[in-house]
């Protein structure tokens, strides 16, 4: 279906495209290993976050927490805020986003364009700190509605009802699903769907590994694990640093023509790792991974220009995913 009554109706239903040049392809033993990209940048505001944002708002409207004239508050370093702001604008809510001060300028501008008000949280500590600040503000404004993507089940539900079924319909032979680990909503929701619909699909998490500034002041006793996270729904989890993420995001553009954001490079790196394992084991595999967003919002990070060494240096201390 390509005609919709409004922009909000057009969320989801994204294309799944093959990567003929990055996939290992047909092996001498007859096994075939293919990699598929789920283009979530084709959503209305250009990221996968349109799915959970819309679902969280709809659920809150349904259960009565969100009423006309309400103010929405959310800790976000960008995409979720942009998605929420779009939906809030169309539905008539005010929105305040708490974001770390070391996120890219494009994301701030986009948030402001869609009408969000921004509260900055300290760079050190990254999203953990944004969550802490948002919780504090929520305490001071009991009438504001914090949808709280890290603990809101509607986040995972959007993927359980949308992303998962779409993948199975487009790729019935799917063997692996690889996505980024942030709120964990994508992985939790898609996994819940496949655990039921096709339990042998392996669920693989790619987690960004930042520079030392981001972890520097973290106390090991005050870490953060999203409330949504259920370890039993994941089969393996990889930590991917900025160097591999940049290298892969450039390969994706160079070889397949897909211009993606840096976190997608980290996810592709984990997907290629699974592909290499399948080749080594002589098994066929159909590996689907998520293209979270396009590269536009990250041009100012310097990730796409110069050598990989230079890009790695520039990303140090930034929340690149």
């Amino acid at each position: 279906m390509t005609r919709f009554d409004s922009l909000l109706e057009s969320v989801g239903g994204t294309p799944l495209v093959g990567l003929p040049r990055l996939s290992p392809g047909l092996q001498p033993n007859g096994a075939e290993v293919r990699i598929w990209a789920k283009l979530e940048d084709r959503n209305p505001t250009g990221s996968i976050k349109d799915r959970p944002a819309l679902k969280m708002i709809e659920q809150a409207e349904k259960d009565g927490t969100l009423r006309p004239g309400c103010t929405i508050l959310e800790p976000t370093s960008g995409n979720t805020g942009i998605s929420l702001a779009m939906a809030a604008k169309l539905k008539g809510y005010r929105i305040v986003c708490v974001m770390p001060e070391n996120t890219s300028e494009e994301r701030r501008q986009l948030l402001r364009m869609w009408g969000a008000e921004i509260v900055s949280s300290p760079a050190a500590g990254g999203s953990n700190e944004a969550v802490r600040v948002a919780k504090k503000i929520a305490g001071e404004h009991p009438d504001w509605v914090m949808l709280y993507q890290y603990g809101n089940d509607a986040n995972a539900l959007a993927h359980e009802e949308g992303t998962g079924p779409e993948l199975l319909e487009d790729l019935p032979s799917i063997t692996h699903f690889v996505a980024g680990l942030g709120t964990t909503g994508t992985l939790m929701g898609v996994s819940r769907f496949f655990r039921r619909a096709k339990p042998d699909v392996r669920i693989v998490a790619a987690e960004p590994r930042y520079g030392e500034l981001v972890y520097g002041l973290r106390n090991l006793d005050e870490g953060f694990v999203p409330e949504l996270y259920d370890e039993s729904l994941i089969d393996s989890r990889f930590s991917v640093g900025p160097r591999d993420a940049v290298r892969r995001v450039r390969e994706l553009l160079e070889l397949e023509g897909i211009f993606a954001g840096i976190s997608t490079g980290a996810i592709l790196h984990a997907a290629l790792g699974q592909a290499a394992k399948a080749v080594k084991a002589g098994e066929s595999a159909d590996i689907a991974f998520v293209v979270c967003d396009g590269g536009w919002k990250y041009l100012s990070t310097g990730a796409y220009e110069g050598t990989v060494d230079e890009a790695e240096d520039r990303l140090d201390g930034q929340l690149w995913a």
Binding site: N128, E207, L220, P226, S239
Partner: protein, 92 residues
């Protein structure tokens, strides 16, 4: 058997400020015991009642050990181990 262990800033008080130290062991458990010998106090920051602490993530060659057997995860010569505090995701 040499295994490089990368230490987060918050734990470098135990390693005289070193960002990475060498250790040895066939399993993560053995490696942590070996580290404790050279850097007393570090084990208690990583392990609690026989399991990894909740907000400590340990990776062997970039893979999270919680999906590789936890403290029983096997190690080979030349492996790289990274210790990191758990943080929330980025662009969310």
């Amino acid at each position: 058997m040499a295994i490089e262990v990368r230490i987060p800033t918050i734990l470098r008080t135990y390693t005289d400020g070193a960002k990475a130290v060498d250790g040895s062991g066939d399993t993560l458990q053995a490696l942590i015991d070996d580290l404790e010998g050279n850097h007393p106090g570090i084990k208690e920051r990583l392990v609690e009642s026989g399991d990894l602490r909740r907000f400590v993530n340990v990776y062997i060659n970039d893979e999270d050990v919680r999906f590789m057997g936890g403290l029983d995860a096997e190690l080979s010569d030349g492996d790289q181990v990274v210790v990191l505090p758990a943080v929330a995701g980025g662009a969310r």
